[in-house]
Amino acid sequence: MWRIRMHGRGGQGIKTASQMLGSAGFYSGFQAQDFPLYGAERRGAPVIAFTRISKDAILERGPISSPDIILIGDETLLNDPQSAPLCGADPSTVIFVNSDRMPESLASNFSVTAVNLTDLCLQHLDNRMVYSSALSAAGARLLGIIELPDLLQAVEDELTGVSSQVLRGNLNLAREIFEIIQPAVISEKANSPLIAKSLVFPQHLPVVDGAPIILDPGNMALRKTGNWRVERPKIDYEQCNNCMICYARCPDGVIRTAPDGRPEIDYDHCKGCLICAQECPGHFINTVRETGMFP
């Protein structure tokens, strides 16, 4: 059995990618299973999706803890403790990163493939960043057991209802990625039996300990949503006339007035919705693509 785990962000098509890969495996004559896992959060928040492909019936259920292939759709997730894309990786794990550079520290421990899917998506999909076809193509090719026509059929199946132009873009994208990437060497993992955890019996605690009471109001700021950003808004201070429209329009309230009256963006929390750039009356806020920080 091959176990594939995908990491990305809500809205990037990670769930669809796992479905495409599962269907492609099925068309190539295997059994397949795919499902996503995400918390209550939505667009921009980390999403994980899983695909199992096997010659025999798949009896295993639940999240994949020791994957054969890890596909990372968003390089900014490498440092994200909530997503933890490298969790359960061992030297035999094949890792794919959507990036224009090779993460050196990662490459010394794992077999890593890095391809800039973002640029390819922008090119094929009319400037949209949806990685579903791209990531499933990368996974299918790395696996080396899936034929191109089966992959294309799966892409077409999962994208029913889109316009013919979007479908054509996705098929071309999948085809191109299939050609760029070489199949990886995937070694068979030793089958270790799963051990059940011992039962924990609940204890009665006084209300102050037992109830979910938060004693530090406003502590949400400890959670950094800055890594949700795909693009970074940058204020051109040479031109900015401190009208503060950006401050009024920011839904998350991450633009504050500096002591000298200028607007200042809190990049630790800015989610990159880019409303400020869109709304700035003089267009003095530019957008720059974010690049990840590798561990």
Partner: protein, 310 residues
């Protein structure tokens, strides 16, 4: 016509206080969050929010909260009864148990359109009837957004939701009209009732500033463009909110002392298509073929509405 003078005239007058800390799990570009952020700026930190299950559940996820004030999480039908309980407790403790006046809290209900129009509707009507002293903030994204965008009584005619997609048998998608919550609430004569748009922060802030000093049910309906459910880029949230006002689809108004006043009036109303064509939930009205009849009905409804006030 009575003219109510606002306290804010320009962006720089807006209250500098931020009542919601960043870092919440809400979608990037959430229109409702912008509305609540602006509203809470005016109300200060002495509040208790009774939150109905919905998108804004994500505001406070244990062990984190973005608020300096208190937060009580309830079921979808339960925020208003919860508010009644909290209000009564505060009143009784202030009267008999020596709780000091300065410890008093603004009781605020935060609920989505599903809770407001469907599940919590009856309890809200009862609370207005009892003249409960509270503020109600309804973020209206016109469907059950948190569970994947299913039809609510606030979903407009002609929009596609998860449960009312455009099909051969039902080409228009949603075939029933949006409930007019403003008129329903108005019929019960609450002390203050207003619709607000995140695109009009000054108007919004003035309305909250006014409501703050009143006593009784103070109801707000906030237009909340939803990039995820409506299908547009997060950066377009404000543009969509603006077009909703400019096309006349979302009237920005208030009801106070028996009169309805449109506080922001579109000078020349744009055709509704301008608003519809930018959103995926209305795309079936334009592709693969144009549904002129549906678009025409939406336009007629808007025209009929404004004719009453011309």
């Amino acid at each position: 016509m009575k003219v109510l003078t606002g306290v804010h005239k320009k962006i720089k007058d807006l209250h500098p206080h931020e009542a919601i800390a960043p870092g919440t799990g809400l979608c990037a570009g959430c229109g409702g969050l912008e509305g609540l952020r602006m509203g809470l700026k005016e109300l200060g930190d002495d509040f208790l929010i009774c939150n109905a299950a919905g998108c804004f559940t994500l505001l406070s996820v244990y062990p984190f909260t973005p608020l300096k004030g208190s937060w009580l999480y309830t079921t979808m039908g339960g925020p208003v009864p919860a508010a009644q309980g909290v209000r009564d407790t505060l009143d009784i403790r202030m009267r008999y148990r020596g709780l000091e006046k300065k410890e008093n809290l603004n009781v605020i209900v935060v609920a989505g359109d599903g809770s407001s129009n469907d599940i919590g509707f009856g309890a809200t009507s009862a609370a207005i009837h009892r003249n409960l002293d509270f503020i109600y903030f309804c973020y209206d994204n016109e469907a059950y957004g948190n569970t994947g965008f299913q039809l609510s009584a606030a979903s407009p005619y002609g929009s596609a939701t998860q449960t009312t997609p455009s099909t051969d048998a039902h080409e228009a998608g949603t075939e029933i009209n949006k409930k007019d919550l403003f008129e329903i609430w108005k019929a019960q004569k609450p002390i203050y009732l207003a619709t607000v748009s995140p695109r009009e922060p000054i108007d919004l802030s003035n309305k909250f500033a006014r409501a703050k000093d009143l006593q009784g049910p103070r109801m707000f309906i906030c237009m909340s463009p939803c990039p995820t459910g409506w299908g547009f880029e997060p950066k377009e949230t404000q543009q969509i909110a603006k077009l909703a006002v400019d096309t006349g689809i979302f009237p920005v108004k208030e009801y106070f002392e028996g009169e309805v006043v449109h506080t922001v009036r579109p000078r020349k109303r744009l055709p509704v298509e301008k608003f519809l064509e930018l959103q995926k939930r209305f795309r079936h009205l334009f592709e693969p073929h144009r549904q002129d009849e549906v678009i025409g009905q939406i336009q007629n409804r808007v025209d009929d509405y404004w004719r009453q006030y011309e």
